[in-house]
């Protein structure tokens, strides 16, 4: 068989090249032929049905539930009616532009942070820090209102994608400082500090996030003085910060361990003490080495925010569930979940792609020596 084929495309012409490519990639050996057949059967079995459901039998607005049922396919009319509810949840309808604007500000800040040129040089780094603080302040003002003529919206009404984004971004941002302290503490020579860091990290990493959320919801009213009331959103946010800090600390510890020991020796030889060595030499390099892991933790954070649905907060998953419960459109769970799945997928896959690119660039850079990255 192989000799027939090799004679068939020995002449190097275009059809021969195509044949050879097909053979190499699909039909090389009997098990590959079997796999290819299996793959083709899978596609043939699912794709036509999928296309029919998604496009041919689907209904678009204006239509109602009965029309959707009759057609039997996807009910896009439902999404067209409900998309604002799913995206923004219980946020007052007229003020939803504020939620949308907050979302855009977050996205812009995150996208800007992904451009490496923005982090080159001390002045630009300070600018980025200030920018982030401004964005966070602006989002808080936009969402809660009460100033600048904006109507006040309580935090229990914040819902949907802005809530998801906010929990993840603020969580990771706040956890960062604590994570550095924990990572350095874990490698410290002072026994008390080391044990405290290890105990914290191992405790947090050993329990599920949902139990920490329960802990926060149940325990916080006990831990604060009697007249202080801790907002439900704040409790969840604190639980997230505690959780992410432990995982970020492990990522940073990986970066610290990957640093060549000669760097610290050189810094000590010049006479730099512990703090100066860490601030000028160790942390800049270690944080760069840990960057891909930290991005992965941020992606996981974005997905983990969906757990607040269980403690009765309306993040993106919660609003999708709520939209499904509307008696006028009963039980359209596939459309609801598909909508938010697309949102989660786009964001997470995008960040994964970015993390992989970062890793490739940093690995190449490490070989060449990190040219001012």
């Amino acid at each position: 068989m192989k000799s027939i084929l090799s004679r068939l495309y020995a002449d190097g012409s275009r059809p021969a090249q195509a044949l050879s490519w097909l053979h190499r990639n699909f039909f090389d050996g009997w098990h590959n032929v079997l796999l290819a057949a299996l793959g083709l059967w899978l596609l043939a079995a699912t794709l036509p049905g999928l296309w029919r459901w998604l496009v041919t039998d689907s209904t678009v607005a204006p239509a109602d539930f009965q029309a959707c049922q009759a057609a039997g396919g996807a009910c896009w009319a439902y999404l067209q009616a409900k998309w604002r509810l799913i995206l923004f949840g219980t946020f007052p309808y007229d003020e939803q532009w504020r939620a949308g604007l907050s979302l855009l500000l977050f996205l812009a800040a995150v996208l800007l942070s992904c451009v490496p040129a923005v982090w080159a040089g001390n002045r630009r780094r300070w600018c980025m820090l200030v920018l982030w603080l401004c964005v966070l302040a602006a989002v808080v003002v936009l969402m809660s209102g009460g100033v600048l003529g904006l109507r006040r919206v309580e935090s229990r009404l914040w819902a949907g994608l802005p809530l998801t984004m906010g929990l993840a971004v603020v969580g990771c941002f706040s956890a960062f400082g604590l994570a550095i302290v924990l990572a350095l503490g874990r490698r410290s020579e002072m026994p008390l500090l080391r044990w405290a860091s290890v105990a914290y990290i191992e405790f947090i990493r050993g329990v599920p996030l949902i139990s920490l959320l329960f802990l926060a919801t149940v325990l916080f009213p006990l831990l604060v003085p009697p007249n202080v009331d801790v907002d439900k959103l704040l409790r969840a946010q604190l639980a997230f910060v505690m959780f992410f800090a432990a995982y970020l600390a492990e990522a940073i510890r990986g970066g610290l361990q990957a640093l060549p020991p000669g760097q610290v020796a050189a810094a000590h030889a010049i006479g730099l003490g512990y703090w100066r060595t860490h601030i000028h030499i160790v942390l800049p390099q270690a944080l760069r080495l840990a960057l891909p892991s930290m991005v992965n933790i941020f992606i996981a954070a974005f997905k983990d925010t969906s757990l607040v649905t269980i403690v009765a907060m309306m993040d993106l998953l919660g609003t999708a569930n709520a939209a499904m419960a509307d008696p006028k459109w009963l039980g359209l769970y596939i459309e609801s979940y598909l909508f938010i799945a697309v949102i989660y997928f786009v964001f997470c896959a995008g960040m994964s792609w970015y993390a992989r690119r970062l890793e490739r660039r940093l690995a190449g850079g490490a070989r060449l020596g990190m040219q001012g990255v």
């Binding site: 002072m190 405290a196 949902i210 139990s211 329960f214 149940v218 006990l222 604060v224 979940y337």
Partner: protein, 383 residues
């Protein structure tokens, strides 16, 4: 004064003293708040509730809990359910993950692309979303008991779950199990003695494992017990008899496996690809075909790379099983929430959950560290 400050020992001592004072002050303040708040909110710690009777049902479980048993037994049932779904989930994840990894690595473009697509979906969607999807799908899809499916004799699948014929457990079976485990241990000791500490001594002692089946069968024959099988029977609108695995169990299982197998596949693939290409060349030049190479050369080395990330994956699966609370499967966390709503003992229950999960994690980490040390290449780190 500055001369004293320069001594690193003095500095370390001062920082640690400060840290101790800080932690001590924080604990004091928090304890004070808790002390004032407990009586105020009527939440004094009372661990005695564990002996009280619980009045909720948990379905069929390994511990045999029924409404009217103590809370301790309820928690035990929850823990048993968690372990049950975690262990089955881990085994399935390993299998599915390996298959997907091998598909990714196969030269076949179509299947490797399909496998890549699966991995991307599994890794970029939240686990809770996947769980809710599987749960809703199963609940909508499964027929009522009157129209149940019967794929195998003794197995009935309906929206009540998968009901299977149940074997009456008799003491003879416990004895047989005990004898089986004992003979396995004996065989392991014998093999270790004869074969030394080879990681892959395999073949020569295969017959020993088959021999271990003899003692338990002998025990059963000696006891001469009749086998009593309880078949599930449709009575009215419901199924009676047999043992039922609820649809929530399957939803949780499918969700966990679907999501975690994606991550596992990537770890396994990284492990296999992490083995130097030269190993393949050497094996091929010896004349070994694909499977013998995989089995004797690549996988043992790949295991060393794979074990740490896979351990954290499996640990994560065990912790993620706690999401059962969102779909109503009675795992440990859900039992705790029901207990909290019944007794109001929120703090105690949360503490129980945290301690149990923490012990599970520490135990698994210790186990994996031991395994890692055992399979580490001799002389790789030391010499």
């Amino acid at each position: 004064m500055t001369r004293l400050w320069r001594r690193p020992g003095v500095r370390a001592g001062v920082w640690q003293a400060l840290l101790a004072v800080l932690i001590g002050a924080a604990v004091w303040w928090l304890a004070g708040n808790v002390a004032t708040n407990l009586p105020r909110l009527k939440m004094e710690l009372r661990w005695g509730f564990l002996a009280e009777t619980a009045s909720f049902e948990l379905g069929d479980n390994l511990v045999g809990y029924r409404a009217g048993d103590s809370f301790t037994k309820a928690f035990a049932a929850g823990l048993a359910n968690t372990l049950q779904v975690s262990l089955v989930g881990i085994v399935l994840t390993a299998i599915v993950g390996t298959l997907v990894a091998l598909l990714r690595l196969s030269g076949n473009l179509l299947m490797s692309r399909l496998a890549w697509l699966y991995v991307e979906f599994a890794r970029n969607l939240p686990l809770l979303l996947q769980l809710l999807f599987w749960h809703t799908l199963l609940v909508r899809l499964l027929p009522p008991p009157r129209a149940a499916w019967q794929p195998l004799p003794g197995l009935v699948v309906s929206n009540r779950g998968a009901t299977m014929a149940q074997l009456e457990w008799q003491s003879a079976f416990s004895w047989a199990l005990f004898v089986f485990v004992a003979s396995l241990l004996l065989a392991a000791v014998l093999r270790h003695r004869r074969a030394g500490t080879h990681v892959r001594a395999g073949g020569r002692f295969g017959w020993l494992w088959w021999l271990c089946l003899l003692p338990p069968l002998l025990t059963l024959w000696l006891f001469a017990v009749p086998l009593v099988i309880e078949q599930p029977v449709l009575r009215g609108f419901n199924l009676v008899g047999g043992v039922t695995l609820v649809p929530e169990f399957f939803a949780l299982l499918f969700g966990l496996v679907f999501c975690h197998a994606g991550f596992a596949a990537e770890s396994i693939r990284a492990g296999i690809q992490g083995v130097d290409r030269g190993q393949w060349d050497a094996a091929r030049s010896l004349g070994l075909r694909w499977w013998p190479t995989m089995h004797s050369v690549v996988l043992p080395q790949a295991l060393r790379i794979m074990v740490p990330p896979l351990t954290s994956n499996f640990l994560s699966l065990t912790k993620s099983s706690s999401l059962a609370v969102a779909i109503g499967y009675p795992d440990l966390l859900r039992v705790s929430t029901v207990a909290i709503s019944e007794t109001g003992r929120a703090v105690e229950c949360v503490v129980i959950i945290l301690l149990v999960y923490l012990s599970l994690s520490l135990f698994t980490s210790a186990l994996m560290n031991w395994y890692n040390r055992r399979i580490a290449l001799k002389g790789a780190s030391g010499a």
